[in-house]
Amino acid sequence: MSDLNRLTIAEARDALAKGETTSADLTEACLTAIDASGKLNAFVHHTPDMARGMAKAADQRIKAGDAAPMTGIPVGIKDVFCVKGVPSQAASRILDGFRPEYESTVTQNLWNAGAVMLGKLNQDEFAMGSANENSVYGPAINPWKAADGRDLTPGGSSGGSAAAVAADLCLAATGTDTGGSIRQPAAFTGTVGLKPSYGRVSRWGVIAYASSLDQAGPMTKTVRDAAIMLGAMASVDPQDSTSADKPVPDYESLLTGDIRGKKIGIPREYRIDGLPEEIAALWQKGADMLRDAGAEIVDISLPHTKYALPAYYVIAPAEASSNLARYDGVRYGRRAKLGQGDGIVEMYEKTRAEGFGPEVQRRVMIGTYVLSAGFYDAYYNRARKVRTLIKRDFECAFADGVDAILAPTTPSAAFALGASDNADPVQMYLNDVFTVTLNLVGLPGISVPVGQDKNGLPLGLQLFGRPFDEGNLLNQALVLEKAAGFVAKPGRWW
């Protein structure tokens, strides 16, 4: 078999089961592709020895008839996940040299299932960003090119994961989504990205950004692969007190392709001013596809949608300022060089000034401000109350019998790198306008590639599901994927 790195998880699994290929061969194909992908800057820490060792073990396991669905599948891991003994620094200078002494639950679950670790993937620093430009490693580059040949962002914060999957450097990758960081990069690269319900996947060992919003999920080439990989990543974890006490279903077995009678809501508030015509047309096309498959399309209202973005940009920085207080130059990572007579406060202040990039500093300071005495009620508490109202919007829609909600993933296709250089921070935050709501309400969502813009760049639509209803959500996404028939791949230039 040729081009083994281009396979999907399902294809590779079936080929492995039939003895048509080996994990060792799959892994070599990916390692070769990674070696030739320097220009994409997707893989930032390489673990070829580990990969070869794990592939060998997987092949033995398959031979012994003990294979799980992910056994022998080579994957990339976002830098934000702690992998024992492997640099894990969430793309931050402040975690320079940090090698965890322990393993995140998600990666442990993947290794237990027999998946193969190829290396760590680029991202925005501490998962804060929408363009993967806030990274100590420099930006990851989208394998898709602009019509004029300019480099495009793969999106963020899971930009390296999306670029790696789109460029076939791995069969799949892990991502995390705090305000859209799985779904937006998936939409920008023509791949599938799933943010599970809050609590479905353990946060243990995932370097924290905003703990009430963070959720890890799979980034894959197909919806079926997302179902397989979510099954391997999810678990009930005593190490994470917010991990839900719900058994993990066999998501793949729920992919029937039958969505007849399902009610899909189209939220009118997502038709924002200035929504580009081609995004509106794509959205309509997606609704038509689901209707043709037997779903009922209904207009719904989520009246507080407009306030999701400002509420998010209060709550997420507040939690970040608290979470990132741990980077003090004492216990791990990097400490600034101190001057004569510098005390412990100077050490903290210099270490954090040198170690955090500008966007992280901004969010930590905004968070500090909204939590500080005198402003706590005006900003933080108000935002949490608005969050309650936003959740109520969804509860009302579901109570009216809506099974899922269809919306665009992003207001545009991938934009050029450097576009954010002189933009004011709020302009960049607007990229998250369709995605942050879901994190505020803890629901599952999936972005599926559905079409291309006038320049041939991929565009995605997202489906939101009921709480812990990933099974139905994936099934609806499968129908959308089939009807859209998105097969375009970026031409290789790297």
Binding site: Y198, S241, V314, D328, V345, M365, Y379, R382, V386, P425
Partner: protein, 95 residues
Amino acid sequence: MSITEDEARKVAHLARIAVDDSALPALARDLSGILAFMEQLNEVDVDGVEPMTGVVPMRLKRREDVVTTGGMPEKILANAPDAREGFFAVPKVVE
């Protein structure tokens, strides 16, 4: 609401991030812009609404009050920028 340079300096200090005086005007401008964006929240009637503490309606899990891990000082210290004789080392705190 707009943030003065003095307030920006104070926030930076609370966040324990050293900011040069020359960078304060730009920082104050950025923070003011972000806060202005948040002012939209004032349009919402939140009377009688409970602030959300968690998105999933569940009681925080409890476990037996027993020791489940520990006894690994060398692992805890392995990533410290400065560790000596089984301790984290920091600049002098007390004169």
